[in-house]
């Protein structure tokens, strides 16, 4: 069965605000625990597996936020976005272990490289894109050694050294000895990292044939592939298009979203975000349902499946045929779009999957 996650609601989040506009709002940086817990429960009731908890200087710390949300929720997993270079690997593993114990193992990791060199420097990280991936590989190797209970953990690499390391805690889960590792990024180093240290390569979508080709080495290595994108759905295709175009017009009218996103991309060193921005320049529809219309205002992960519930469900199954097994999704407004997906799209996906299984 395909696994579906949504992005966690942020503090003060409403309507169709773009990623760049949200980053400027002070509310985004402040957890709104009542609203976010209600969102967790809604995601649980609708049958989602996890919620992505973002990382960034404009946001609360994701590990701390998930620690608070874990106590008030029951089944939802927290997909913690993490960057290497902020903490000692032992401290990170210890924090994730503690969180796992407090949430019955409802923790997985979305490992990101960081996409803004300027922001990395806030944290004392002056490495370039390729080196950040090399450091992340060391970081994950050490965390894995702690999770595997090497006694003791010894490591001497280019970026980290550990001598006779031991932790009194373990990753507490019925199913796993460590959190599931989603490795995010479309670049070659990201894919290699997923193959070497990850469980799942998380990336932005492209048409199924191209996706299948890019995924082949990952699947051949026994790892899985996941996609991150948006959903703009409605009862009919016409209504969905109306919503999509409305979002695009709203973006142009109410806030300088395009300008903010353009500035962000100009300074970013993310391979896949820059590539997606370029694609959106020339191609509005990558397939009849895969739309780039919001990418230049709402960011690369705003590439969206647009259509009726049937069309979206069919497109997701096409991605499944191309080798994809999980999705981190979002939409506008976040809660309503999640509800639409859970009530209208998810049952259709399950029916299609059942039919496939029987066939």
């Amino acid at each position: 069965m395909l696994k579906f996650h949504w992005r966690l609601l942020q503090g003060g989040e409403t309507g169709s605000a773009s990623r760049a506009a949200m980053a400027l709002r002070p509310e985004t940086a402040r957890p709104d625990i009542a609203a976010q817990l209600a969102f967790c429960r809604l995601a649980e009731d609708l049958g989602f597996t996890g919620l992505l908890v973002d990382i960034g200087a404009a946001k609360p710390d994701p590990i701390v936020l998930a620690s608070a949300l874990g106590l008030g929720s029951r089944t939802i997993e927290f997909i913690i976005a993490c960057r290497s270079g902020l903490q000692s690997p032992a401290v990170f593993a210890q924090q994730i272990n503690t969180l796992s114990a407090l949430s019955d193992g409802r923790v997985s990791l979305n490992v990101v490289a960081g996409h803004s060199p300027a922001e990395q420097r806030f944290y004392g990280d002056f490495l370039d894109h390729e080196e950040r991936y090399a450091r992340t590989a060391e970081f994950l190797a050490i965390c894995e050694a702690f999770w595997r209970h090497d006694k003791p953990v010894n490591y001497r690499g280019r970026y980290y050294a550990v001598e006779n390391g031991e932790l009194g805690s373990t990753f507490v889960s019925q199913r796993r000895h460590r959190p599931e590792l989603l490795i995010a990024g479309g670049s070659a180093p990201a894919r290699e990292l997923a193959i070497a240290h990850g469980d799942c390569w998380m990336r932005l979508p492209e048409p199924p044939a191209a996706l299948e080709a890019a995924s082949r080495p990952v699947l051949a290595a026994g790892k899985t592939v996941g996609l991150r994108h948006a959903i703009i759905g409605a009862r009919t295709r016409a209504e969905a298009l109306e919503i999509a175009y409305g979002l695009r017009e709203g973006a142009d009218r109410t806030t300088p979203d395009r300008q903010l996103e353009g500035n962000f991309i100009a300074r970013s060193d993310s391979t896949s975000f820059k590539a997606m921005y370029q694609v959106a320049e020339t191609t509005e529809w990558l397939t009849p349902v895969l739309w780039t219309g919001l990418v230049q205002s709402h960011g690369a992960p705003a590439i969206a499946l647009v259509g009726s519930a049937d069309e979206i469900a069919a497109a997701l199954i096409d991605f499944k045929h191309a080798g994809t097994s999980q999705f981190i999704l979002s939409g506008w407004p976040k809660a309503q779009s999640m509800q639409f997906f859970g009530e209208e799209v998810l049952p259709r996906v399950r029916r299609l999957e059942q039919r496939l299984a029987v066939a």
Binding site: T28, P31, P60, V64, G70, L86, Y123, L167
Partner: protein
């Protein structure tokens, strides 16, 4: 013998009381080797600990740092959700985390808990353990680094625009965090420095922090605190508590405690002493082998069995209340207690000892 001369307004403020949460769920505190201690938090026991502390009128609970423990920041964030008033004193070692990432975590805890978080900076007391975390510096170098760490953190909390810093141990450029430190009273967390070395004392002065130190004979303690006194700084004691209705009952409780601990515990602490680079721990441990009483109410008899943090205020409620008031007059105005077991001692503190202290404070006014 007073940190600040004369009866200042500072002296008239109430004594402040905190407790160590490091043995939540473990009534036999500190008798096991570290390898046998589980770093997996017992949530139910921790929640009970928080509730009892709130009922006893305590202010901070110390969430300690150590490789054999749960993570202090995560624990504070989670327990903040299931408590109402108690604050969390999160133990911090520098060198394990980017200062920016650290401030972001602490600020997030503050927003989640209504500002119920303070920080206890510690230097780390085992070089062996520091290396688990990739830290290969010695005791004195670690103080240099933690001063720099605190400089960056405090600049971020000061909120005067982007923070840049290029030092020996840390370099950040144009750092801006959108998550603020949120508290009804403060724009930055209250800072404590744990330790007894001259470096710890200087660090408390430099960062306007409260020195949270270990007990010692009166003259030694005053000599240790002299630089703080010159600076008008704050001081507190980390000390065990064995208080009962009468002195005889307290002595009997101490005897019972010694009988409960076993010889294995003695070996555990002797081996820890041998590899520790902490000045405070080493001094306390060695002294306890020489004498059992540092004053009529300050007892070190359990230190060989339970470790250096087992130096205890021991006596009747009235004796201890008088002792605490006397410390207060000397400028030591905060106390972080430990008990054996904690929950019982905490209840006695709230029901018997705290009211006696508050009465005495009222009389002074």
């Amino acid at each position: 013998m007073s940190l600040s001369s004369g009866r200042s307004a500072h002296e008239l403020t109430r004594l402040r009381f905190h407790w160590s949460m490091s043995a939540a769920g473990d009534p036999s505190r500190a008798t096991k080797a570290r390898a046998e201690v589980s770093g997996i938090p017992d949530l139910k026991a921790h929640i009970e600990f928080c509730r009892t502390a709130e009922q006893a009128g305590l202010e901070y609970l110390l969430t300690a740092f150590g490789s054999h423990r749960p993570d202090a920041v995560v624990l504070a964030a989670a327990l903040g959700m299931v408590s109402d008033r108690i604050k969390f004193l999160v133990a911090v070692r520098s060198g394990l985390c980017s200062p920016t990432a650290f401030v972001q975590q602490i600020n997030t805890v503050s927003v989640l808990t209504g500002g119920r978080v303070g920080l206890n900076f510690v230097n780390g007391h085992s070089e062996r353990e520091q290396r688990y975390y990739g830290d290969f510096l010695d005791h004195d170098q670690r103080y240099v680094r933690s001063n720099e760490f605190l400089d960056v953190c405090r600049a971020l909390w000061a909120g005067r625009g982007p923070v840049s810093h290029a030092g020996r141990h840390f370099r950040v450029e144009g750092a801006v965090l959108n998550t603020p430190f949120r508290s009804p009273e403060r724009s930055a967390p209250e800072l404590y420095i744990g330790g007894a070395s001259p470096q710890a004392v200087r660090q408390a002065c430099r960062h306007n922090a409260c020195l949270l130190t270990t007990p010692a004979p009166a003259e030694q303690l005053m000599a240790r605190l002299a630089p703080l006194r010159a600076h008008g700084g704050r001081a507190g004691l980390i000390v065990g508590l064995i208080a009962r209705q009468t002195r005889e009952a307290a002595l009997a409780a101490a005897d019972a405690l010694l009988q409960r601990t076993n010889t294995a515990a003695r070996a555990v602490h002797r081996s820890f002493r041998a590899q520790s680079s902490s000045t405070a721990f080493a001094m306390t441990f060695d002294r306890a082998l020489e004498t059992e009483w540092l004053s009529p109410t300050l007892w070190t008899g359990a230190v060989p069995f339970l470790g250096p943090s087992a130096t205890a205020l021991l006596g009747s409620y009235d004796e201890i209340a008088d002792t605490l008031m006397e410390y207060g007059r000397q400028g030591i105005r905060e106390f972080l207690f430990l008990g054996w077991p904690d929950l019982d001692e905490m209840q006695r503190f709230g029901g018997e000892l705290a009211p006696r202290v508050r009465e005495r404070e009222m009389e002074l006014c």
